[in-house]
Symmetry: C2
């Protein structure tokens, strides 16, 4: 089985044109951790006054970098600068007490060279689990890149955090407020081990808006639930998932809690990045949107959506362009959430496939088979039980997924 | 993508030599439901005095045959005979009100031709979901096979219930009691949509012991939990899963509740059949045993075991013979059950792989890689938190799984 090197067929045509955010500088370097001939360390330098919020993996075996971020994220801080440092190629997860040593060594170095407190340096590591991180390589690279002062654009930052990703992921939204325009930008990585409750997914968001720490955390946690926590590639959850948002305030425009425009802009940006992560799902050939309507409650809605999204039988049927709606019935049935057979309606796009506990009278296999040829597949299920709705995104399950993952380390 | 026709490399060398059970007769026929040139209807005729117990899928979208069985299984009954009728090729699941009509038509026909009450006829259907069952084909076949009176051995019965199975599954155990020897035999089918809480799995067990109905149900429910509810192929749960046990009593030997010998015999038989189902997992190339030791409680133990067993990343690593224990750490972390990183011990067979939150000092990648070449892979996890243990069985996840399932219906 050989590694698949081609770019995902679902990749966007090009990386978007993302403007610089005042108060954020990116540096990248090649520390040679795993990959040759590409950058694998990214440093984002954040000006004094920046507020940072974050959400992290729920895994009980989460990495030392995640634990370190969690400890720092809610600390009160002076108006010093801050930094985010990320390496790809090694996750520094399940590396015992050495894991913590590496995190401290890296964040201390960043703190020293940028002259900021270590409590303001957030780090992430992504890649293989269980192998000691050769952090001296990263430290050497960090010292050199800061001495060189050659800043990069955000595209280079997006590239430096990639692992099995086949394309860099970035997005930008402009939000008009009463006081003027602010900008939110973001980069993401992640193509395997993607599941709700955070994935092998690293996401860094930056805005020039001025947002108080509590409000920033509230926006992030709430919107994360319906964006990055509503996607899945394989149902596996990483030890390292991290989403950080940094608000530099350099636009001079203050965003308060519950600002509709800011919220909408952030939802749109995070949804875009979440879709880009799914579209780079290992081996993906189809992008799948699952809508659950009229579930008894939100928990049930998400349970049904996840059960469909994570079912290998549903995902392989989609890969084979087989309108096998019986497998959707199976996935609803096994979810553990409430469903009544004869109230369920199933749709492919706008096509009513099943109702009254059976195939719909006007549905034909040809209609379904034709629909399945699309690259984006929308599956909707109306449970007819309550008023809770949810949307979830995933990809199909192809031979390439197996090939990529059966020899990831070889 | 082409259907894989080869026999599973994990198949036993041959079907076991299974003696006839007094009071049980098998008939089979080709009704031509889906498959050509093979039998697809099985009828087991059970003598008067037979007690029957059953366990069924927990799916909320379970089939009409399952609902019909559930309604009958706890009914009091006269000493009339009984029957089990099974068809393969069509699951008669999610077929609306027609589903029930088909079940009634089939069970009524069996009741009529065998002159037994319809309440003593148990039926199962397995195959594609959502397509109307052409039950008249089955009824014609049933009338003909009963008129012909040409009984078959249990191997033919095992063959008639197969769908994507690559080999027939059967087992036998003899149990010595104070009063003499009794025999328990069984057949099973199922190779995809296999998951705990019952799978696309049909299992029929027969014994010449005399066991009261309540005791029989108690044995079955209890042992089912640690056998058929402790296996998984793809984590998907079928709408049709059924395990029935029929005790004809023809040996004249009475088995009471909590008989150790009978219980051990039944555990051994059901474990054997459960393993055979896993070993015919679609595309399987490795048989995987997962042992969880010292979990906080049984629920946690099973949650960890299932999380490892159902993880696509663990299963693909095993397919690739990659000793990627980091993915086991990930699966423990995402299970939702309690784990403390630094207390976890992970073993491949007898090889200690990880402890104290990291790779074990004496472990080497070469040791792990060598172990992964085995056909049977044992993964053990000691959580060091309590005294609850569990064992779970699954198979690996190969390209063939995708190929089989991406065009099951084409």
């Amino acid at each position: 089985m050989a590694k698949i090197e081609k770019v995902s067929p679902l990749a966007p045509a090009s990386f978007p044109d993302i403007p610089a955010i005042k108060g954020v500088k990116f540096l990248t370097a090649s520390a040679g951790l795993k990959y040759q001939g590409r950058s694998d360390v990214m440093l984002a330098i954040l000006d004094p006054g920046t507020e940072i919020a974050g959400v992290f993996t729920s895994s009980s075996t989460r990495s030392s970098a995640v634990i370190d971020c969690e400890e720092k994220i809610h600390l009160k801080h002076s108006s010093s600068g801050a930094a985010i440092v990320v390496n790809s190629g090694n996750a520094n997860a399940f590396t015992g007490s050495r894991g913590k040593v590496s995190v401290e060594a890296i964040t201390s170095t960043v703190a020293e060279v940028l002259n900021i407190p270590r409590s303001r340096v957030f780090s992430s590591s992504t890649g293989v689990i269980g192998e000691e991180l050769p952090h001296s390589l990263i430290i050497d690279a960090l010292r050199k890149m800061v001495a060189d002062k050659s800043t990069q654009d955000i595209l280079e930052a997006a590239k430096a955090i990639m692992t099995t990703d086949t394309y860099p992921k970035g997005s930008v939204r402009k939000v008009l407020t009463d006081q003027g325009e602010i900008t939110i930008v973001g980069i993401a990585k992640g193509s395997g081990m993607i599941a709700p409750n955070m994935a092998t997914m690293l996401v860094y968001l930056f805005t020039d808006a001025s947002v108080k720490k509590d409000a920033l955390q509230s926006y992030l946690s709430k919107i994360n639930e319906r964006t990055f926590n509503s996607i899945s590639v394989d149902g596996d959850t990483s030890t390292s998932d991290t989403v950080l948002i940094a608000a530099t305030g350099k636009s001079g425009i203050r965003i308060e809690k519950n600002d509709k425009n800011f919220s909408q802009g952030l939802v749109s940006l995070m949804t875009d990045l979440a879709h880009q992560v799914v579209k780079d799902g290992e081996g993906a050939s189809k992008f799948v949107e699952i809508n659950i309507f009229n579930a008894r409650n939100n928990t049930d809605a998400k349970a049904h959506a996840k059960s469909i999204a994570n079912s290998p039988l549903v995902k392989t049927a989609i890969a084979g362009e087989d309108p096998n709606w019986g497998r959707i019935v199976m996935a609803i049935g096994k979810s553990g959430a409430q469903a009544e057979r004869d109230k369920i309606k199933i749709f492919f796009g706008d096509i009513l496939v099943a109702e009254d506990g059976w195939v719909a009278p006007n549905y034909s296999e040809e209609l379904g088979a034709q629909y399945m040829k699309n690259t984006t597949i929308k599956i909707s299920v109306d449970l007819g039980l309550g008023v809770a709705n949810t949307t979830f995104w995933t990809c199909d399950f192809t031979n390439d997924y197996i090939s990529i993952n059966a020899d990831y380390r070889s």
